[in-house]
């Protein structure tokens, strides 16, 4: 190659070509910047802000956590509610501003579907619900909704409520495939209604929207484990990660979409920990890596955040610790339920979100980089401990067939 013949340069002085970019090209470039930069670039000019906010572009531009769906009614508790009458969900924006980013009444749904709906899970912009819209009591089907595009689709086939099915999760990753998976775990829950001491997982039914069928697989975890119904799960690389408790300790269970590979990931322990037991572990996906939050196992007065740096490894690296004193003003908390619940680790920032309060609950964020704690919103007396972080998905990836 003769090289770039620099001699060709001439005194071409027209305006800066960067300033002449068309909207299309600018958006083409902006689709490639990380979310955090995109956020900041809204301040560049009114034109840039309008481009970034434009509905035609949102489908292509990166999105991030906008807020949390949560149950607002005290009567609604977990998933055991069979009658499921009335819909009472709220949405709290992470920005703390008043108008909720999505309409948690799901008014885009027909009345019948809307009035008999129970929110089950949320994964990368799609919501999984049970819809008790049939005449028969306890009969339902699963609906998958996209509140951003107001599209929804029903998983074919009706099902009956069964107390052995306590944990249902949605697996969906639009970066990989437009198809979703529903994981329905069956446990050894005792029909007599005795204490639910022993509710270990027996197996899982997995629905794939690609094949349109359910498959059933026996549990192959090497120990008996019970799942945390109220903790968020993570779907990553075709594997669902769920927070669980084994015989004596808390663990993370992992199962792939084929139901073939079952793995147990131990949660981190310090060598010289004085505690005989670990605390429940909250897991989430942040900056592409699996993160875990629980109570430090040395003194028990700190929130500890770990990251799994290598996705094939079972090793955790301690990323950050912060005292509960700093977060909420008390030295010790009831972690994992009732009083202190981690609800998300920000998908793009070193930030953790938690709900604090025994009765009056507040949603707060903690920035690991700046150390700042914000009270985002007072949630009042919400009885539900189930908070679903929500990242909107504007592309029309729901398979056809929905409304």
């Amino acid at each position: 190659m003769a090289g770039g013949s620099g001699a060709k340069k001439r005194a071409r002085r027209r305006p800066n070509p960067a300033a002449l970019l068309t909207d299309d090209l600018l958006v083409e470039i902006l689709t490639r910047v990380p979310y955090r930069s995109l956020c900041r670039f809204r301040c560049v000019s009114t034109r840039w802000r309008a481009l970034i906010a434009h509905p035609d572009h949102r489908a292509r531009l990166p999105q991030t956590l906008t807020g949390f769906l949560y149950g607002t009614g005290c009567a609604r508790y977990g998933f055991a509610n069979v009658s499921a009458a009335g819909l009472d969900y709220g949405f709290a924006n992470v920005s703390g501003t008043e108008a909720p980013f999505i309409d948690a009444a799901f008014s885009f749904l027909p009345d019948r579907e809307r009035e008999h709906i129970m929110l089950v899970d949320c994964c990368n912009g799609l919501l999984l619900c049970r819809s008790y819209r049939f005449a028969e009591v306890g009969e339902f089907d699963y609906l998958v909704l996209n509140p951003a595009t107001e599209k929804w689709v029903a998983v074919p086939g009706t099902r009956r409520w069964w107390n052995k099915v306590q944990t249902v999760r949605l697996g969906f990753d639009p970066a990989v495939s437009p198809h979703f998976y529903v994981f329905e775990f069956q446990s050894s829950f005792d029909d007599d209604g005795d204490d639910d001491d022993d509710t270990h997982v027996l197996g899982v039914k997995i629905y794939s929207s690609a094949t349109g069928v359910w498959i059933h697989k026996q549990n192959k975890w090497i120990m008996q484990i019970s799942l945390h119904t109220d903790f968020k799960s993570v779907f990553l690389d075709g594997v669902l990660y769920v927070s669980a408790i084994g015989d004596i300790e808390f663990v993370i269970g992992a199962v792939d979409v084929e139901g073939e590979t079952w793995r147990i990931i131990k949660i981190p322990r310090s060598k010289c920990s004085l505690f005989s037991e670990t605390s429940p572990a909250f897991i989430d996906l942040s900056q592409g890596q699996l993160h875990l939050a629980n109570v430090d196992d040395m003194v028990g007065d700190k929130l500890a955040i770990y990251v799994r740096e290598d996705k094939d490894s079972v090793e955790w690296t301690l990323k950050h610790t912060v005292s509960f004193e700093h977060l909420v003003g008390t030295k010790n908390v009831i972690f994992g339920f009732l009083q202190f619940i981690v609800v998300a680790i920000h998908p793009d920032h070193n930030m953790v979100f938690f709900v604090f309060g025994l009765h009056e609950k507040t949603l707060r964020s903690y920035d690991m980089d700046s150390g700042k704690v914000y009270i985002i919103r007072n949630l009042g007396r919400c009885g539900n401990e189930h908070f679903l972080p929500y990242v909107p998905l504007f592309s029309k990836t729901l398979p056809d067939g929905g409304n």
Binding site: M1, A2, G4, S5, K8, K9, R10, R12, P15, N16, P17, A18, A19, L20, L21, T22, D24, L25, E28, I29, L30, R32, V33, P34, R36, S37, C39, R40, F41, R42, C43, V44, S45, T46, R47, W48, R49, V94, S95, G96, T97, D173, A175, V176, L236, D237, G238, G288, H349, M351, S365, D367, D369, S370, K372, Y374, I376
Partner: protein, 186 residues
Amino acid sequence: MEVDKGKGEAEETRKVAEADRDTVTLKSSDGKLFEVSKEAAARLSTVLAGMIAGGSIDDNGTDLKQIGSEALENVVDYCNKHANSIPSAALISSSISFNTAPFKEPEEWERKFVDRLSHDALFDLVEAANFLGMERLLDVTCHKISEMMKGKSPDQIREVFNIKNDYTKEELEEIRQELAWAFYDD
């Protein structure tokens, strides 16, 4: 690579019948002529492919009035380099892994190719790639620009893009507040 890019002075020298030629001649907005492999042009540019198929290629230099000579030289250079390079199998297979955007990371030579460009030349090349429907070149150049933008403040971006800040102080403050939780200083 026998097909080199044409020099500006290469006009009027080729009288070979079009059917026999394996190159096409392109003319920049400022009248310079460049030669590029017909095969590479058709493969890399949807617009050139259309012109070749439709017979609207001019032996004496197909007019590309929207593209300056510097950008066109880079386009031709890219086509030639692309024809020369063997796509790395490792790169292709690794890009299919989960959790990555469909965009394939630039290969080493592509990275070098855009890295040596001046700021203005890079933006001109984006426009040219867009105009000629060169998807891969558009990808690679946009990727480069997005890398330049990462982590920059709005002020720095305004400077790079020569943009006037048309916000009022109050408006700007409002946006910053809206994003307060995300907008910590680096």
